[in-house]
Amino acid sequence: MKIIIGSDQNGFGLKKVLIGHMESKGIEVTDMGVYTEDPVDYPDIAEQLALRIASGEFERGILICGTGVGMAIVANKVPGVRAACAHDVYSAERARKSNDAQVLTLGSLVVGTELAKSLVDAWVASEFAGGRSAPKVEKIKAVDERYRK
């Protein structure tokens, strides 16, 4: 699985921890920044990462900011991308199994590093279950289509 990860300055430290964690498990991770703790505007990072998911270049993406909220809002604005802000293991699993979310967003000011690792593990290990969730994801795509250029 090819995973791309990005953060703003608030998520910089947690991003480093999660890259190390995933690489130790043999997952190929591409870091798209930020590479310093200098302030940036998180919408730029979220859009760039979401576009690389929408294009099919990467299967999954992880975005980190202070709360995970801003990153999720922006990534969801990109057509074809479903981003889930998940700070508990149940939600991290459901993000994949029910919602087929290709993007996980995390808040570095909300969860600690060990919980964040568990969230990533649960999200990486879970796959979309299809079945009764499939028509629901189709409804999200219909909402996307309604407003898309």
Binding site: G66, I73, A83, A84, H87, R94, K139, V143, K149
Partner: protein
């Protein structure tokens, strides 16, 4: 404030609790469904978008959407241009979603938080104002991104 509220079947009971809280706080609530907890509602993403549409069109000042985890319905609400939806299952995030993100729609996971935590989250979301300042430019960037992809 005028609040539009919507859920799937899984969050129907929590929606009833939150409606009562909002009414007790003096808000005017419009419920867009689901209207039962017995039938699995496949249309809840459309309900999420309908709540966001109410906010987009100025018919509601705020929106609250709920499903099992809050994820599916928050994704759907965020697909609506001009509307930002924050999935908040803790109080810190609820506060920041208003202070920094100026989110007008709140999403909750009925299977993630209990009723009392959900009520506190809603209270903070309704009471907290946008800080403005450096966040204005960031939020303006979201509108620019949106315009690139939406009709």
């Amino acid at each position: 404030m005028k609040v539009a509220i919507g859920s799937d079947h899984a969050a129907y009971q929590l929606k009833q609790v939150i409606k009562k809280l909002l009414t007790d706080l003096g808000h005017q609530v419009e419920d867009l469904g689901a209207f039962t907890d017995s039938v699995p509602a496949n249309d809840y993403h459309l309900t999420g978008a309908a709540v966001a549409d109410q906010v987009r069109e100025g018919k509601a000042d705020r929106g609250i959407v709920m499903c099992g985890s809050g994820i599916g319905i928050s994704i759907a609400a965020n697909k609506v241009p001009g509307v930002d939806c924050a999935l908040c299952n803790d109080l810190f995030t609820a506060r920041k979603s208003r202070e920094h993100n100026d989110a007008r729609v709140l999403a909750l996971g009925a299977r993630v938080v209990g009723e009392e935590v959900a009520k506190e989250i809603v209270k903070i979301f309704m009471q907290t104002e946008f800080e403005g300042g450096r966040h204005i430019a960031r939020n303006a960037n979201i509108r620019k991104i949106e315009q690139k992809y939406s009709k």
